[in-house]
Structures are given as structure tokens and as C-alpha cells.
């Protein structure tokens, strides 16, 4: 079935925060502009975003991110609200609607959860809405323990049958574009993203959406 080209955008703390650990309005503005621009070019985007715990700790006036898991979960519950509100405020400038999707790892091994998440994400992407995805830290601790959202990014890439993943590099404004099946990885500027994404998807505005996508990282699922 023909559908719009889809990418998963991996947002890390470095993508949003400055070196002092504070949210950087400039970086956030840049990121949301890049995403809204990609949407305008005809590419569907799912954002997998970290940052909830750091934002929550900041909101609670904590100098450092709490060390214990419960403290992190509480910070995440405060910070996830802050994070999604922040994205809305920025995306509103570009008239871009978003949706909040909080997943747990059992989305990979519970068939009903899996199907529902797939359908919901497809429904959002097809309507030009950006799903902003994170782990549901209040009830699940796998990402908190791992301290990275890579497994979630790969799960989302699989759920959305994405054509590529975009990851930021240490150099601001430079991104890694990872093709489906990891068959090709290139580094490029934000402005070059739309052209290369279309090229990765076979040079077409629509993707065939074949089954050979990103692998499910079921070994990360917390049973």
C-alpha cells in the first residue's frame, strides 16, 4: 500500500539542552522547525524524545537529576507534561498538531498492544500529525535504567514501518540519516534531509512500505 515516506526522529537530551543542562530555546526552536519543514515537504515524522526527567528535575528546582528510580519516575511525571507542553508551544508556531504517545516495552510482545499502537501511529502519521513518543516512565523503568532511548527508537521505527531514522550528531545542525535495515548511514545538514530521505525511500514521494523494516528489539522488552 502506498503511503507517505516515514521517518523516526531520535531526540536526545543534547538535541534540546545546552551544555549547562538547561533547556535551550534556540535548539528546541531549530528542531521543531526542521520537523515542521520535513512535514511540509511531505514526509511523516514520529519524534521519539528524551528529556522528561531532566525537565521535571528542573521544574522541581532540583539541581541534579534524582538518583533513585522513584525520584526519577516522579520527575518524569512532572517533566513529561512539561516536555509535551513545550513541544506544543513550539509546534503551534508552525501550525503543526502533535500527539503524545507513551509506550511500554510490552508493545513489542503483546499482540493487541502492538496492533493498537501500530494503528494509532499510522492514523496520526496519515493525518499529518507528529506523534511525540516516550516511554511511560510512571509505570515502566526500562529506559530509566538503560538511560537511553535507542531501543524505543528502534521499536517505533518498526511499529511505524519507517523508511529511515534521523539522529543528531555532536555537531549542531548535522544529522545522521540511517536507512532502513541499516544498509546505509550518511551524515548531512538539516537542509539536505528532505532530498536524501526521499532518495532513501526509492526516490519516490510515496513509500511502498515493504515488510523488511527495522527489527523489533524484543530482547529489550521487560517481561
Amino acid at each position: 500500500m502506498q503511503r507517505k515516506v516515514r521517518i523516526v526522529f531520535k531526540v536526545e537530551i543534547d538535541t534540546l539542552f545546552d551544555d549547562n543542562g538547561k533547556l535551550s530555546p534556540r535548539k528546541t526552536e531549530q528542531l521543531t522547525m526542521v520537523c515542521a519543514d520535513l512535514q511540509n515537504s511531505g514526509i511523516s515524522i514520529a519524534l521519539v524524545s528524551s528529556g522528561a526527567i531532566a525537565l521535571g528535575a528542573g521544574k522541581l528546582g532540583q539541581e541534579l537529576i534524582p538518583l533513585n528510580i522513584t525520584g526519577k519516575q516522579a520527575a518524569a511525571a512532572v517533566g513529561q507534561a512539561e516536555l509535551i507542553i513545550m513541544y506544543q508551544d513550539y509546534f503551534d508556531h508552525y501550525d503543526q498538531t502533535l500527539a503524545q504517545v507513551l509506550l511500554t516495552r510490552d508493545v513489542t510482545d503483546n499482540p493487541v498492544r502492538n496492533r493498537n499502537a501500530r494503528n494509532t501511529l499510522a492514523c496520526l502519521l496519515d493525518q499529518g500529525i507528529v506523534p511525540v513518543i516516550n516511554e511511560n516512565d510512571s509505570v515502566s523503568t526500562s529506559d530509566i535504567i538503560l538511560n537511553d532511548n535507542y531501543p524505543l527508537v528502534l521499536i517505533v521505527a518498526s511499529l511505524t514501518d519507517a523508511d529511515a531514522i534521523v539522529v543528531n550528531t555532536y555537531e549542531e545542525g548535522r544529522f545522521l540519516l540511517i536507512k532502513k535495515n541499516f544498509s546505509e548511514i550518511i551524515e548531512l545538514d538539516a537542509g539536505e534531509l528532505p532530498d536524501f530521505i526521499f532518495e532513501f525511500a526509492g526516490g519516490k514521494m510515496e513509500s511502498e512500505g515493504d515488510i523488511e523494516g527495522f527489527p523489533d528489539f524484543t530482547q529489550y522488552a521487560d517481561k
Binding site: A74, A76, V101, L102, T120, S140
Partner: protein, 282 residues
């Protein structure tokens, strides 16, 4: 009445607001009412009591954001709307609570908190930690990944499990009905609100479940189910009309304002028997 007066001693309270309380009949949000709700809850929190808010309304808000006249019939469409609307809803709550210097957090739950001990433990820890920090958790069902459309049945049931999980003293269910009536008020002009119910009788369950003999706008069956869950843990439940959110202040001042489902507090109620109907998922 003595039993109502006891509510003045409640220190941990779960308040559930339904879509009918939060929105106009056209589905758009009733901001004035939300402001008053935030105002009331923030003031109660200042007295040292702990508040948990369970809020519906995400799908209605999502439909409003997309300018839809009616809700989609398919599950994916509804779940997509919930994902859009929940983000919008928490932004609005945060705005109103922040104006009253009250910190909030968002917690989205699934039935896992009832059937999976690890999830239950995580959710419980998160809630207790938030309450310790005087933050009001705003809870909703995580519709996007719910295994079926009516995982909890509705937020009446969810709020009862939350009350149990948080070891609350009181659950307040606000909707567009004034309480439990002695008869169908649409048919009997002399129907009165029953101020206190001490026992869930078969008769009561039957009349609440009956489609034609419902009290008010219906939805009483899920409320009775919420009462049943709460009673297992010795948690009192009040059903009241949320048209004026100040009613919450009256309730916790011990003034009669709807129907109180009374039971005495159990010591160390702890976990209940978890006798929910569909334990086959996950």
C-alpha cells in the same frame, strides 16, 4: 449527618471529573469550570490535604483541536484523538494550576496497574512520591496502547483503582448527576437524593444497571462498580454534580452534597482481592 461530617477528616482524596463536567454539550472545553476546578483543588491542597485528579476529556479535546463535528467510530481514530487531546488537556490544566502556584504531573495508566505487580509497584511509587512533593497528579487512561476500547470500562473504574493504589480516604465522582436517587427523577417528581448508602444491595445494583430505569443520565452502573472496588479497601465514595466544582470544598468540609457511599476505614487495607473481570490480557 454524622457520616458526612466524617469526611472532614479525609486527608487523601481522589477527584474524578467526567467529560460532561469538563466540556459544553458541543464537546468544547468549559474553561470557566476548569478554572474553578483548579482553584478549588489548589486551595484544598494548601490545607495540607493530598489531591489526585482523574480527568477524562482527552478524546473530546482532540476532536475539538482537529475541528471534528463527531467522534470517529474506529478504535485507531479514537486512540489518535486521545493522543492529540491528552497533550492539549494537560497543557490547559498546567496553565490553570500554575496560575495558582500549584505544580502538576501527568500519569497515564492502563489496566496493568491492577494485574501486573511490577507496574502496580511503579505506579504506586510514582504517585506516593508526587504526593510527598505536594504535586497534584493528573491521571487518565493511556488510551493509545490500551488493549481494547473499554479497558477500564471508563474513568469511574480507573479512579477507584487509583484510590485503592494511593490508599486514599475518599473518592469523589463528579458528573452531571446530583447523586443516587430514590427513583428515576425523570418519571417521579418526588424522587429524592439518597444522602447516605451503607450497603450495596442487589436491588441497588439492579436498578443502577437497568438501562431504562437509570438514575439521571445513566452511567450509574460504572459508579456502583467503582464503589464496590473502593469498599474492599475501606474507601468512601461520594457521587455529586460537578457543575460547580466548589462542591468539592463542601464535601470535604463534611456538608451533605450528593450521595455518600459510606464504609468504615479498614486498618492496613493494603492490596485488595483484585477481583476484576478480564484478567486474561497481557
Amino acid at each position: 449527618m454524622e457520616m458526612w461530617k466524617e469526611l472532614a477528616t479525609c486527608s487523601k482524596i481522589v477527584v474524578k471529573v467526567g467529560t460532561s463536567t469538563l466540556s459544553y454539550p458541543n464537546g468544547r472545553l468549559n474553561y470557566q469550570r476548569l478554572v474553578r476546578l483548579a482553584d478549588t483543588l489548589a486551595k484544598i491542597q494548601l490545607t495540607g490535604r493530598k489531591i489526585i485528579l482523574v480527568s477524562s476529556g482527552a478524546i473530546a479535546v482532540g476532536a475539538g483541536r482537529l475541528g471534528l463535528a463527531s467522534r470517529p467510530a474506529d478504535l485507531a481514530g479514537k486512540q489518535a484523538l486521545a493522543a492529540i487531546g491528552q497533550a492539549e488537556l494537560i497543557r490547559i490544566y498546567r496553565r490553570f494550576f500554575e496560575a495558582r502556584e500549584q505544580q502538576v504531573a501527568q500519569v497515564l495508566l492502563t489496566k496493568d496497574i491492577v494485574i501486573r505487580p511490577d507496574r502496580r509497584e511503579n505506579a504506586r511509587n510514582t504517585l506516593f512520591e508526587l504526593l510527598n512533593m505536594n504535586i497534584i497528579p493528573i491521571i487518565n487512561e493511556n488510551d493509545t496502547v490500551a488493549t481494547d476500547e473499554i479497558e477500564f470500562g471508563d474513568n469511574d473504574t480507573l479512579s477507584a483503582y487509583v484510590a485503592e493504589l494511593a490508599e486514599a480516604d475518599l473518592l469523589i465522582l463528579l458528573s452531571d448527576i446530583d447523586g443516587l436517587f430514590s427513583a428515576d427523577p425523570r418519571k417521579h417528581s418526588d424522587a429524592k437524593i439518597i444522602p447516605v448508602v451503607c450497603e450495596i444491595t442487589k436491588d441497588l445494583e439492579r436498578s443502577a444497571a437497568g438501562a431504562g430505569s437509570g438514575f439521571g443520565t445513566g452511567g450509574m452502573a460504572t459508579k456502583i462498580e467503582a464503589v464496590r472496588i473502593c469498599r474492599n479497601s475501606g474507601i468512601k465514595v461520594v457521587i455529586a454534580n460537578g457543575a460547580n466544582p466548589d462542591i468539592i470544598s463542601n464535601i470535604i468540609a463534611g456538608r451533605e452534597s450528593g450521595t455518600l457511599f459510606y464504609c468504615s476505614r479498614k486498618i492496613n487495607a493494603g492490596y485488595t482481592d483484585m477481583n476484576i473481570r478480564n484478567t486474561d490480557t497481557v
